[in-house]
Symmetry: C2
Subunit: 322 residues, 2 copies
DNA sequence: CTGAAAGCGCTAACAG
DNA sequence: CTGTTAGCGCTTTCAG
């Protein structure tokens, strides 16, 4: 019987038919728990996310859900913003209830959690990378994305350039910031320290506050890069409140291309991450490691694209991401 | 051993200590699959959602995640917008891999899916209810919410009232619409058919299109109720594009109080659903049914609250939801 | 090529 | 109060 179900090659045709029809007649479904016990494989994949309220993560989860479902796996979600989330993930993994984990919010600061998980099951980092960790990692080229924005600003003659950035722990932020500053530096347009604001977390409110401070400077910026869209939407609202015309008096660029960026209220120029490809890559790597068909660690770096909208002058030519 | 772990009452103190220390020394973790096989309980709770990209659902999932994690359960998410989502849910449930399911997007049209699931495990409906289905249901009082908006409009002297609504399958929409129209009717302010638009799905783009059509009428509305916030944000952008001042020339009210509603770009008056309480209620009901401590079906109806912001005149007195 | 049996790790029931 | 055992439903191995 199991031979039929497993698609074993050497089985008589009439035998197989008999078994299959019996399966249908009885409405037989293999029991997941028994199978899991025997094979020590549950089909459950954990996804560690944070701040489901931040629109980027739902979009990431949706992409992951699609890929995992397609591959016949279940997606178990933990929110590490919730204090219990990390502990719950560790419990589930240590009890063998999870075959592998996709981390979307890893930083060096979550090393403890990572270490515990990876000791038990394959782990793949998606979105945020951590250089020294020994696991598969899928990210987009945030440095190139940052560079593209810097080049864009410099090439368009923006000179009083502002930057709203955040904690350096996430590789995404670090790389975007570095790429952006490097591109400006290379053209001799270093940014003034007074026009760099580092917020403590990523939210619309923080973006609004930071941009307000920049706009209150004696010499306010003529362009601001926000290291992600949530901040940029807040910055756009700051300009709105102070009646600073965008893009005439202020260019604004974000990062991620979340859905709201394209809404007329914001019409935000931003850098799009290839979420679908990232999710597909992460799932493929993880499943390959789980079923043992893959050995070495891989690092995937996907390209992303500057999406020019009305928060910067449309007519300005967007240079290629050098 | 199992007695200690299960917290069984009659066990010698020194015995328990010996066992516990051994557990600690060996780093023993009970195996989830074996336990699941023996008890036919996995600790996995399925959540069926849709359109994770619609901001209401992430907020709902976050609330559910918190409650389920707190209760020591895992949250498995299916996106039924993905064609495979429904089938995957059924498979998981029929193989015994899931102890119970929370449905956040049920309508009479998903009867097939519901029937299959509920035949196998306890099911709780959250957010959307379906009157004739025999299962626990947790919703907020959408009818009262709709009434509150109608009363608010009528009491504030709005007379050319518009409604942007959607498919009638979800109970939430049906009830909001009915409550709204009933409240207006009662005050003799039925709305003109030309000012009612029914969109085919809920998105910013649809809200924008619908509102644009309303604003192009010879006698455009002086107030529009959108049955959810995503539509309302689109409508707000329609007004922005046409330079219709809000709230001076147009009042706008949404429903759900998603995070973006409070952003300055929208500053949207809306009706807040008590998501945390709804999630807590749904989880409590489901777990109670799973462990057999509860028998009869329950229907929970939670109150919600009109949140007045700048898209309607702040000074106008918001009447109680009658 | 097909039938029979062992055993995965746990819990509940039973014997001491 | 504690030690032992049967058996959950599957897959894999071993006999036939």
């Amino acid at each position: 019987m199991s031979r039929v179900l497993a698609g074993h090659p050497g089985v008589q045709t009439d035998m197989r038919d008999r078994v299959l029809s019996a399966i249908r007649d009885l409405g037989y479904r293999p029991n997941a728990a028994a199978r899991a016990m025997r094979t020590s494989r549950t089909g459950n994949i954990g996804v560690v996310a944070a701040r489901l309220a931040n629109p980027l993560y739902p979009e990431m989860l949706q992409a992951l859900s699609r890929e995992l479902t397609r591959a016949g796996h279940r997606m178990v979600v933990w929110d590490v913003d919730d204090d219990r989330g990390g502990g719950a993930a560790v419990d589930a993994v240590r009890s063998g209830g999870i075959d592998g984990v996709i981390f979307t919010t890893a930083t060096a600061e979550t090393a403890q959690l990572y270490a515990t998980l990876t000791a038990q099951v394959p782990v793949v980092l998606m979105n945020r990378a951590v250089p020294h960790w020994d696991c598969d990692q899928v990210e987009s080229d945030n440095r190139a994305g940052g560079r593209a924005v810097g080049t864009y600003f410099a090439g368009a003659g923006r000179r009083r350039i502002g930057l709203i950035t955040g904690p350096l722990a996430p590789s995404t932020i670090r790389n975007r910031e570095e790429g952006f500053l490097a591109a400006l530096d290379r053209r001799g347009h270093g940014i003034d320290a007074s026009r760099l604001i580092r917020v403590d977390h990523f939210s619309h409110a923080r973006g609004l506050e930071a941009a307000t401070r920049l706009l209150e400077l004696a010499s306010p910026p003529d362009a601001i890069f926000c290291v992600n869209d949530v901040l940029a939407l807040g910055a756009r609202d700051a300009a709105r409140i102070r009646d600073v015309p965008v893009p005439e008096a202020l260019w604004l660029v974000g990062y991620d291309d979340i859905e709201m960026a394209s809404w007329p209220a914001f019409d935000l120029t931003t850098v799009r991450q290839p979420l679908t490809e990232m999710a597909a890559g992460a799932v493929t790597l993880l499943l390959g490691r789980i079923d043992g068909t893959r050995e070495g660690r891989e690092r995937v770096l996907l390209p992303n694209a500057l999406v020019v909208r009305g928060s910067t002058a449309r007519h300005a030519h967007a240079p290629p991401p050098d």
